[in-house]
């Protein structure tokens, strides 16, 4: 029986909030579903790009931006379901090795937006896959103190970096993204290019 990892106290929103405290003007790509809604509610910034569809494309978008803007550190907020859908992108990132990409994965081991159906991340360690694929820095964390410590280190080090944060299934009450998709494109492009 595959179930959520026991003893994980922190919600994704709490983990996200810890990272938002450390961000300045870095561009951020957030995966579709509740993660985007939660990020928008916690800290809406012009440098946030919220996906509402195209599941699996998060890291690919971040990679393209990192290659186009090598002097900027690009941060990706991803989920375990999203990463599993495009596992090949870990290979692309591991092979191309963009120094300026930090790939954060909030791993709740379920498809949380659609009713908590289990994903395979409980049995397949996505951090191990990322390490095998060639990411330079890979860490798995549970606690807020460790999130802060490791993310700070990743901001300072050369990437690509992969921060797997184990979180519980709790969702933050958050509305759908109010800005129209084409307005998000304009706002984000203007703020990063």
């Amino acid at each position: 029986m595959i179930g959520p990892e026991e003893g994980v106290m922190q919600s994704r929103a709490q983990a996200m909030a810890a990272i938002f405290e450390l961000l300045t003007d870095q561009p951020l790509i957030v995966c579709n579903g509740f993660p985007s809604r939660e990020a928008c509610k916690l800290r809406d910034r012009d440098q946030n790009f919220y996906m509402i569809g195209s599941m699996g494309a998060t890291a690919g978008i971040g990679l393209g931006l990192a290659l186009a803007q090598p002097e900027k550190t690009v941060v990706v907020f991803d989920g375990d379901g999203n990463v599993l859908m495009s596992l090949g992108t870990l290979a692309t990132i591991g092979a191309l090795k963009p120094k300026n990409l930090i790939h954060v994965v909030f791993d709740n081991e379920v498809y949380g937006t659609t009713g908590n159906q289990p994903t395979y991340s409980r049995v397949v360690g996505l951090d191990k896959v990322a390490r095998a694929a060639g990411y330079e820095n890979v860490e798995r964390v549970w606690e807020k103190e460790d999130i802060v410590y490791e993310f700070k280190a990743m901001l300072a080090d050369s990437g690509p970096s992969f921060l797997l944060i184990k979180v519980n299934e709790q969702l933050e009450e958050a509305d759908r993204i109010a800005l129209a998709p084409q307005e998000l494109t304009k706002r984000f492009k203007q703020s990063v290019s």
Partner: protein
């Protein structure tokens, strides 16, 4: 028949400066030239390539994605639920495998239905010919800039010189 470097130069002249994709034999010459010029970033799937192109567009690049038409199937969701609704443009350089039914069986359905598929999802497309390359590229640039959505240039076998596998 067009030389690959002339075609690539034509693309660069109208602004394209970020190239990614997944190979096909029809596209082999173009990819070889782009790789030589160190301006090609290989992807592992066509939807990943379209996502990378979107990120590059945000970062100020003018992106093109190369793919076999089978890859349109892989890229369909990202084209529909990212590019088309967010108005993120890219050029799709799509090889037309299965044209007029003359190809291996796996290419025949897509070869026959590709233009209908593109019409259905409202992606403007045009088929490149050696004689009309300049106009084809002008149309591509104009559609890209005005509509801010993906635009497809279809490449049949024998239009741009390729490499022997």
């Amino acid at each position: 028949m067009l030389e690959a470097d002339d075609f690539v130069k034509g693309l660069q002249d109208i602004g394209f400066d970020f190239f990614t994709g997944v190979p096909d034999t029809i596209l082999g010459g173009i990819i070889a030239h782009l790789t030589e010029e160190r301006i090609y970033t290989p992807a592992v799937r066509e939807d990943e390539a379209v996502a990378m192109a979107a990120g590059a567009y945000f970062g100020g690049k003018v992106p093109a994605v190369l793919m076999q038409n089978s890859g349109l199937g892989n890229a369909l969701n990202v084209l529909e639920s990212l590019n088309l609704i967010y108005q993120i443009p890219c050029l799709l350089l799509v090889s037309w495998r299965g044209f007029e039914g003359k190809d291996a069986p796996e290419h025949l359905v897509m070869g026959e239905t590709m233009t209908t598929l593109l019409d259905t999802i409202r992606i403007p497309h045009r088929t490149l010919t050696a004689e009309t390359m300049t106009e084809d590229l002008q149309w591509t640039a104009k559609t890209f800039m005005e509509q801010r959505i993906p635009v497809a240039l279809l490449l049949k076998k024998g239009i741009v010189k390729t490499v022997q596998p």
